[in-house]
């Protein structure tokens, strides 16, 4: 699942997938700005067939947190 998320990020940000580490966050990836964050949220909703609530959207600012949020929704 983590790899799939990295793949989606790579497509949306202008970053090769190898440069997206497990510690990726809005601080470490220069293209993970607020607009791309929304693109990411929508792409993840599309990909996994789920909807994030408002808090989740605002809080999932690192790869770790995204994985955790998805797990909480029953995905693996």
């Amino acid at each position: 699942m983590k790899d799939k998320i990295k793949h989606i990020m790579s497509g949306l940000f202008e970053t090769p997938v190898e440069e997206i580490g497990d510690d990726a966050s809005t601080d470490t990836l220069k293209d993970w700005n607020s607009l791309n964050h929304l693109n990411l949220v929508l792409a993840l909703e599309d990909e996994f067939g789920i909807t994030f609530d408002d808090n989740e959207v605002l809080e999932m600012v690192t790869l770790e947190l995204i994985v955790l949020t998805l797990k909480e929704k029953g995905l693996s």
Binding site: L35, N39, L42, A43, D46, D54
Partner: protein, 600 residues
């Protein structure tokens, strides 16, 4: 490009980036500038994708959020230094008139009037400023009519309510645009109507990020912007080329006859009639119509000349190619005859094979396959937006006549380029084998039904066919066809007669669905092979003319046979024992010459 409405945002985004990086250096540049009071960034990948797919390299300037008027009024703003060719003002009602948008019920009638006039004033000033400072084409989004207006069911009843107020503001926008010149309104309501307000407007994203629209909305908006861009650049399509069978009517005219094709007031004929009306509508807007059909010309034209429910008549078509030649060649001839560019043509056909062939051999033509229920055809045509234009002149309305009067029916060389390569790419699998109990019913059906590609049109019953099959003096053969698009089943039949001193091809026919792939050639080659193996004698092939089989008149002559005699139109051809037969075509993936089991 054909699956623009299926791709996800991430895929469109990635593809747009790829296309931009790979664009050849001479791609036509187009500078677009956006004025906005909403976040429009999600629109950009869609618009770039569409532009790049039509060989336009867009360079996009996004003005500051909510600074539309400042940008428009200041000649030194980034907006003008970008030197845009197109300026798009995507403004929503909250900017133009917040009270009308969000608190209409609190306004007194006098306040409503004042708000409308303020809004109209704002728009006029904006457009005037833009027009004064830039020669660009201006596109203004209209104000959306709310799905649930401020006064509910009362709202639509009179002129003092929210719906009417917004309508007046839109009228003011339209007037200001007409006055400025080179300025056009984009009606957002018709976009919303396509997917509904909940499908278009995104309240969640509007609150989180000031993005009021869904991805699907941006997809539609970009698609609509593209229609304006195409019209402005003169890249809108000019000519619609149409197939006939199962496109302009249900059924096959050459097989079913004019009384049995589906075209009329009841289902499914009603679908085709409606489709014809939509096509005629395009013609009245200035689109040139042409026909490209594999048929006997008289059969097809009879429908337009005499069928009471045909909305389209011969006079509506400026060029026709109704013959048995390949469609890419015919379409090229139509373009030459009408003296228009191949890239201004749209081709519509129900056949996957014909569409695929045109896409391969004439990629500049926009080839569209009719799929699914005929009831969807007229909306599909309306939704294309390929012919949209920003003006309508008397000349437009008469365009078809003009082309028809000028064009002669010049004889041009047909385009056979790469035909063999195309055929080879179909991965055709042919089986030509002796009949058996499984195939006899289908063979008999073909013998009774086939009219067009039928050399002698001899009709035999199933028991007669069975008798021929069981007799040692005859050979009954079938041809089974399959390609990468699907399995057509048994589409050809032949009966060889060895009772006399010479071998005679008594019956030779092919279903018209299977024409255009040299199947008749390989079938004849195999028949000749079998005859020569059976006895060392001449082979006779006869042509007995009927109203429907004129296309087969020279069939034997073109394949190495010589005309031996002719009586009252009936021709007898002969291939002497010493004559070499025509070579068999080699464009097939496989040719099997025996029964491989049960074949339907």
């Amino acid at each position: 490009m054909n699956n623009y409405f299926e791709l996800k945002f991430a895929e469109i985004s990635a593809e747009a980036k790829r296309l931009e990086a790979a664009a050849p250096p001479n791609t036509a540049p187009l500078k677009i500038a956006f004025l906005r009071n909403i976040t429009l960034d999600p629109l950009v990948p869609y618009l770039k994708y569409l532009c790049l797919n039509e060989n336009i390299l867009p360079s996009i300037y996004m003005s500051e959020y909510d600074s539309a008027m400042q940008d428009a009024l200041s000649p030194s703003s980034g907006l003008y230094s970008h030197k845009p060719d197109i300026i798009i003002a995507a403004l929503t009602l909250d900017l133009i008139s917040e009270p009308v948008a969000t608190s209409f019920a609190s306004l007194s009638p006098a306040e409503v009037v004042s708000e409308i006039s303020k809004a109209a004033g704002y728009i006029s000033s904006l457009i005037s400023a833009l027009r004064a400072n830039s020669p660009a084409t201006i596109i203004i989004h209209s104000m959306q009519t709310p799905a649930w207006p401020a006064f509910g069911i009362l709202d639509s009843q009179g002129s003092g309510f929210q719906t009417a107020a917004i309508s007046e503001i839109n009228n003011a926008i339209r007037s200001a645009a007409a006055q400025a010149g080179n300025c056009f309104v984009m009606n957002l309501d018709s976009l919303v109507a396509r997917i509904g307000s909940p499908g278009f407007n995104d309240n969640r994203m509007r609150h989180i990020a000031k993005i009021p629209y869904t991805r699907d909305a941006f997809r539609l908006i970009a698609f609509e912007h593209m229609k304006y861009i195409r019209a402005r650049l003169g890249k809108n399509k000019k000519c619609l080329v149409l197939d006939c069978d199962n496109t302009l009517w249900g059924g096959i005219i050459g097989e079913d006859g004019i009384e049995n094709i589906k075209l009329g007031p009841t289902f499914p004929g009603s679908c085709y009639r409606e489709f014809q009306k939509a096509i005629l509508n395009l013609h009245r807007r200035g689109v040139i119509l042409a026909l490209c059909s594999k048929n006997n010309e008289l059969d097809a034209t009879a429908v337009f000349n005499t069928h009471p429910d045909s909305v389209l008549r011969m006079e509506h078509f400026s060029s026709i190619r109704i013959n048995w030649n390949d469609k890419p060649g015919n379409i090229r001839q139509i373009a030459d005859e009408l003296n228009i560019g191949i890239d201004s043509m749209v081709f519509i056909d129900d056949s996957e094979m014909e569409i695929s062939m045109v896409r391969e051999m004439l990629p500049e033509v926009c080839a569209i396959r009719l799929e699914g229920d005929a009831s969807g055809y007229s909306s599909m045509l309306d939704s294309l937006g390929l012919f949209d234009s920003l003006s309508l002149s008397e000349e437009d309305k008469k365009r078809g006549e003009m082309y028809r009067a000028e064009a002669g029916r010049k004889q041009l060389l047909s385009s056979a380029m790469d035909l063999n390569t195309y055929l080879a790419s179909l991965e055709m699998e042919i089986t030509i084998a002796p009949s058996d109990s499984f195939s006899i019913p289908r063979i008999a059906q073909l013998i009774l039904k086939t009219n067009q590609f039928n050399l002698t049109t001899k009709r035999y019953s199933e028991s007669e066919v069975e008798a021929f099959s069981n007799s040692g003096d005859y050979e009954v053969l079938y041809l089974h066809y399959k390609d990468k698009f699907g399995d057509m089943g048994i589409v050809g039949a032949a009966i060889l007669d060895f009772t006399g001193p010479e071998s005679v091809i008594d019956t030779f026919l092919l279903s018209c669905r299977a024409l255009g792939r040299k199947a008749e050639d390989i079938f004849l080659s195999r028949c000749v092979e079998i005859c020569k193996a059976k006895k060392n004698a001449a082979i006779i092939g006869a042509y007995i003319p009927t109203e429907k089989n004129a296309q087969t008149e020279s069939f034997y002559k073109n394949r190495g046979f010589t005309l031996k005699s002719e009586t009252a139109g009936e021709k007898t051809f002969i291939l002497e024992a010493s004559d070499a037969p025509a070579p068999a075509p080699d464009c097939y993936k496989s040719v099997i010459t025996q029964n491989t089991g049960r074949i339907q």
